[in-house]
C-alpha cells in the first residue's frame, strides 16, 4: 500500500508538469498586455514599457518558461505582477477559505445527499421518492449566483439571521455552504438512489430479506456498503470540483477564496498567479483522486493495490 501511494504520487509529477506547460502556454496565447492592464489606460507608454521589461515580458517565451521552471524546481512560484508579493503568499492567504468552504460543502452534501438517496431508494416510486428527486432536479438546475442572492435576500435582508456574504465567523460560512452544496447534494442523492436500486436486485439482498432481517439493517449493512463505490467516485469528483471551481459562489458571497484569486489574476493577466493557482488546483485534485482510490480498497476488500 505504502509503495503504491509513493508510486501514485510519483506519477502525479509528470501530470503536474504537463499542467504547467499547458497553463503557461494558454494564458500567454490569449490577448492582453499585463503591463497595460496593471497600470491602467491613463498610464504613459514609457511606464508600461518599463513594467514589461521588469516582468520579463520582453523576453522570448522559452526563456520565460525556463525561468519559471527553474524557480518552480526550487519551490518558488514567483511574484504577482499586480501586488508584487510572492505568489506562495497570495495563495497561502486564500487557500484556507477555499478549503473551509469546500470541506463544509462536501460534508453537508454527503450527509444530506446520501440520506435523501437512501430514503428515496427505500421507498421507490412513493410520494417521498418523487419529492426528493424533484428537489434534486432543482438542486442541479438552479444557478448558484441566483440561489445565493435569494438565500441572502431571505436570511439576511428579511429575517436578519445570517450575514449577507463576507468571511470570518462560522455564521458567514452557512449560506455559501448551502448554496455551493445544493448541486452536489442533488448529484450525490441521485447517484446513491440509483446505485442502491441496482444492488437491491441482487440475490444476496433477497437472501438477507428472506432471512427475516429488518429492512433498515438490509439497506444500511448489506446494500449500502456494496452500493458505495460509485457514490464515493461522485463525492470525490465533486470535492475536487468544489476545491477548484467555487468561483461563482465565492464571487456572490464575497468569499476570499482561490477561485476569485484565479479570476482576478486572469483578468489582470497576472501570469505568475494564474500558473501558481492552477498548479495548486491540479495538485489538490490529484490528492483527492488518490484518496478516493484508497477509499475504494477500504470499502471493497476485493480491490488490492500492490
Amino acid at each position: 500500500m505504502g509503495l503504491y501511494l509513493l508510486r501514485r504520487l510519483g506519477l502525479a509529477v509528470p501530470t503536474l508538469l504537463g499542467v504547467t506547460v499547458v497553463v503557461f502556454a494558454l494564458i500567454r496565447l490569449i490577448p492582453g498586455d499585463p503591463a497595460r492592464l496593471i497600470l491602467g489606460l491613463q498610464a504613459s507608454e514609457d511606464e508600461v514599457a518599463r513594467l514589461r521589461v521588469e516582468l520579463g515580458l520582453d523576453r522570448p517565451l522559452y526563456v520565460q518558461y525556463a525561468r519559471f521552471f527553474a524557480r518552480l524546481v526550487r519551490g518558488d512560484l514567483g511574484y504577482s505582477a499586480v501586488t508584487r508579493e510572492p505568489v506562495i503568499g497570495e495563495i497561502g492567504s486564500r487557500l484556507p477559505a477555499t478549503v473551509q468552504l469546500a470541506v463544509s460543502s462536501i460534508v453537508l452534501a454527503t450527509l444530506v445527499g446520501m440520506a435523501a438517496g437512501i430514503l428515496s431508494a427505500a421507498r421507490q416510486y412513493s410520494a417521498l421518492d418523487y419529492l426528493v428527486m424533484t428537489v434534486a432536479l432543482f438542486g442541479v438546475s438552479l444557478p448558484v449566483f441566483w440561489l445565493g442572492l435569494m438565500l441572502m435576500l431571505l436570511f439576511s435582508v428579511y429575517l436578519n439571521w445570517l450575514p449577507a456574504g463576507g468571511y470570518g465567523t462560522p455564521a458567514h460560512l452557512v449560506l455559501p455552504t448551502v448554496a455551493l452544496a445544493a448541486f452536489s447534494v442533488a448529484i450525490i442523492a441521485r447517484m446513491t438512489r440509483s446505485s442502491l436500486l441496482e444492488v437491491f436486485n441482487q440475490d444476496y439482498i433477497r437472501t438477507a430479506r428472506a432471512k427475516g432481517l429488518h429492512g433498515r439493517v438490509v439497506i444500511l449493512r448489506h446494500a449500502l456498503k456494496n452500493a458505495l463505490i460509485p457514490v464515493i467516485t461522485v463525492i470525490g469528483l465533486q470535492f475536487g470540483a468544489l476545491l477548484g471551481g467555487a468561483i461563482l459562489t465565492e464571487t456572490v458571497f464575497a468569499w476570499p477564496g482561490m477561485g476569485r484569486l484565479l479570476v482576478s489574476a486572469i483578468t489582470a493577466r497576472d501570469y505568475a498567479v494564474v500558473q501558481g493557482v492552477v498548479l495548486v488546483f491540479a495538485g489538490l485534485f490529484t490528492l483527492v483522486n488518490l484518496a478516493v482510490d484508497v477509499l475504494y480498497a477500504y470499502v471493497d476488500p476485493r480491490i488490492h493495490y500492490g
Partner: protein
C-alpha cells in the same frame, strides 16, 4: 404535510413583512463603532505612490493626504497639507507653505523634509508610479525651511497644481517607509497624516483602518472603518439592505431607479468626468469622410437611450470635454441633435445612400449598460441603412485590440470610456485627440489627426496664463466637435448607495466618494460625513 408547509410559508411571509416594516422606520441610531463600506475590487497595493485604480486610491485617501486637494462641490483646488502656495511668473517655481503641527501616524513630524522625500521617491524608478508622466516635469525639490518647500519644474505645466491633488502625490513619512521596507506596499504602517491609520489588510476580504486620535483636522467620527471587498454588485446592495454595510459603491444599475424611492437607503449620484463615446476609426473607409461621421452623430438619439437603457445614469455631452473640467467650453447646447433626415442627407452627399456595413465593438460590464446601449445604437443606425455588427470580448483582449497600430487594427468603430484623474480638459483632449496618441503609443482609437488641433493642444500645454489657455482649449473643442471623430454620447454618472443614517456622502467627479471630511473651502465651509 402540505398544510404544515402552507402555514410555515405564511408565517415566513408575515415575519418577512414585519421585519421589512421595522426596517422602513430607520430610527435614529447611535454612531456605529465601525463604519463598513463595500467596494467592488480588492487592493493591489496600498502605497499611495503606486496607485493604479481610483477606488483603491479612494481607500488610501483615508490614511494619506496631499498638499492640495480638489473640492467636490466647488471643483477647485483647496489647501490640505499645504496652507498656501505661490507660483513664479514664469510658471516654473512653486513655493508651498506647509501646515504646522501635523504629525505622521508614527509620531514623526510632517515637514519640508518629508515633502522632499516623497517627491524624490516618486522619481525613483524602483517605485512603480503608474502616472509617472505627472512627475516628470519636476526638476528639483528644495526644503527651504521647516515649513516651506520650493518645487522647480523643467517646463511650464499648467496642470501641475491639479496634478498634485492626485493620490500618488500624498505625503509619506520617510521614517515609516524606511522602517517598513518591502512590507510598505502591502502594509503602510504609520506612514500617513490622514484621519485613519492602517490596521490590517486581509487579502480578498477586507481592509481595516483605525481612528487617528491625533488627527490635525476635524476629529474622525468612527472608531474604525472596514472596507469589505464584494465583487458582485447585487451582493453589495444586499449587504446594505441587510444592514451589514453602511455604504456600497455601484449597486446594479437596473436597481437604481427603484432604490431612489426606497426609504431605507440613499442613492448618492453625480456626473463623473468619464465620457462615454463611440470612436470611429477616422482612417477607415467611409469614416474618412467627415460628413459620414457627422451623419453618425445625427442618427443617434442619445436622450432616448439614456432614459430607456441607462436608467438616466448619464448626461448628454455638449463638448469633447465634460463640463466639470477646467477649460470646458460648451459647443452645442443639448448635445449633437438627433435628426435622421439630416443624417440620411449627409450620407447621400458622401455617396453612401444605401449605407454600409461596419464592425462595432463594445466591452461588457465595463461601463454602465455598455453592451446593451451598443445594441441600441446599432438599431438606430439601421434606420439610416448603416449595418453595424456588434460584438464583444473580455476587457484584456479589448485593451489589446485598442493598442494595435493602424496597419493591423480591426477597429472600425468601438465603445470606450475615458476619464482622467485630474479635472482638466487637457486629459481628454490631448489624451484622445493629439496625433501622438494614436495606438500603440497612446490609446486614441479614432486615429484622429488634425494639424491645427495638434498645434493648439501643444500650445495649451505651455501656456501659463489661465485665460489665454482657456481660449486655446475652447478653439480646440470647437474644431474637434465638428470634425466628429466620435459619436458624442454622454458623461456617465458615478453612484453609491448608503444607509439612510449616513449623511453627507458626496461623489467627486473623478469617481470617488468623500473620504469623511472635505477641506474647508470658501463659500462651502467644512463638509463632513455625519451619522443621524
Amino acid at each position: 404535510m402540505v398544510k404544515t408547509l402552507n402555514r410555515t410559508a405564511l408565517a415566513l411571509v408575515l415575519v418577512a413583512g414585519l421585519v421589512g416594516l421595522q426596517q422602513v422606520q430607520a430610527p435614529a441610531q447611535a454612531v456605529p463603532r465601525q463604519l463598513r463600506v463595500a467596494i467592488g475590487i480588492d487592493a493591489d497595493r496600498l502605497d499611495p505612490a503606486e496607485q493604479t485604480t481610483t477606488t483603491i486610491a479612494n481607500v488610501v485617501d483615508y490614511m494619506f493626504e496631499t498638499l492640495v486637494d480638489l473640492h467636490p462641490v466647488k471643483n477647485e483646488l483647496v489647501p490640505r497639507l499645504a496652507t498656501r502656495w505661490q507660483v513664479s511668473r514664469d510658471g516654473l517655481t512653486y513655493t508651498f507653505t506647509l501646515r504646522r503641527g501635523v504629525r505622521f501616524h508614527d509620531g514623526t513630524p510632517f515637514n519640508a523634509e518629508a515633502v522632499k522625500f516623497t517627491f524624490e521617491r516618486l522619481q525613483d524608478p524602483r517605485v512603480a508610479v503608474a502616472l509617472r508622466f505627472l512627475v516628470q516635469p519636476i526638476k528639483s525639490v528644495e526644503a527651504v525651511g521647516e515649513d516651506t518647500v520650493r518645487i522647480t519644474l523643467s517646463k511650464v505645466t499648467p496642470t501641475f497644481l491639479s496634478d498634485l491633488s492626485t493620490t500618488q502625490f500624498a505625503i509619506v513619512s520617510p521614517a515609516a517607509v524606511q522602517r517598513a521596507g518591502d512590507r510598505w506596499r502591502a502594509a503602510p504602517v504609520g506612514g500617513g497624516t490622514g484621519p485613519y491609520v492602517f490596521k490590517e489588510w486581509r487579502r480578498g476580504d477586507s481592509i481595516l483602518l483605525e481612528r487617528n486620535p491625533a488627527y490635525w483636522g476635524k476629529k474622525p467620527l468612527f472608531d474604525e472603518i472596514l472596507f469589505r471587498v464584494v465583487p458582485e454588485a447585487g451582493t453589495r446592495l444586499t449587504q446594505v439592505l441587510a444592514g451589514d454595510v453602511h455604504q456600497a459603491m455601484l449597486p446594479p444599475a437596473p436597481d437604481v431607479k427603484r432604490l431612489r424611492r426606497d426609504p431605507r437607503v440613499t442613492v448618492v449620484e453625480a456626473p463623473s468626468d468619464r465620457v462615454i463615446f463611440v470612436a470611429m476609426n477616422t482612417q477607415w473607409g467611409p469614416f474618412k469622410d467627415v460628413r459620414v461621421r457627422q451623419a453618425m452623430n445625427y442618427a443617434i438619439n442619445k436622450k432616448a437611450i439614456l432614459a430607456s437603457v441607462l436608467f438616466d445614469l448619464g448626461t448628454v455631452v455638449d463638448s469633447p470635454c465634460p463640463s466639470m473640467m477646467f477649460g470646458y467650453s460648451k459647443v452645442q447646447e443639448g448635445g449633437w441633435p438627433f435628426n435622421s433626415t439630416k443624417a440620411k442627407q449627409l450620407l447621400a452627399e458622401a455617396g453612401y445612400k444605401d449605407g454600409f456595413e461596419v464592425n462595432f465593438f463594445s466591452p461588457t460590464g465595463r461601463y454602465i449598460q455598455d453592451f446593451q446601449f451598443a445594441q441600441a445604437i446599432a438599431a438606430q443606425l439601421r434606420n439610416v441603412n448603416i449595418r453595424a455588427n456588434v460584438s464583444t470580448m473580455d476587457w484584456p483582449s479589448y485593451v489589446a485590440m485598442i493598442q494595435t497600430p493602424l496597419e493591423r487594427t480591426r477597429i472600425q468603430m468601438l465603445v470606450l470610456g475615458w476619464a482622467w484623474p485630474v479635472l482638466d480638459c487637457d486629459g481628454v483632449l490631448y489624451g484622445q485627440f493629439h496625433s501622438s496618441n494614436h495606438p500603440p503609443r497612446g490609446l486614441g482609437p479614432a486615429f484622429y489627426s488634425n494639424p491645427k488641433v495638434d498645434q493648439l493642444l501643444e500650445r495649451e500645454r505651455q501656456e501659463p496664463n489661465v485665460e489665454r489657455r482657456k481660449a486655446i482649449m475652447k478653439e480646440a473643442q470647437e474644431i474637434i466637435w465638428h470634425d466628429a471623430p466620435w459619436i458624442w454620447l454622454w458623461s456617465q454618472k458615478w453612484y453609491v448607495v448608503t444607509a439612510k443614517n449616513l449623511e453627507g456622502v458626496l461623489i467627486h467627479p473623478i469617481e470617488k466618494w468623500t473620504a469623511l471630511c472635505e477641506p474647508e473651502a470658501p463659500a462651502v465651509g467644512h463638509h463632513c460625513v455625519t451619522w443621524k
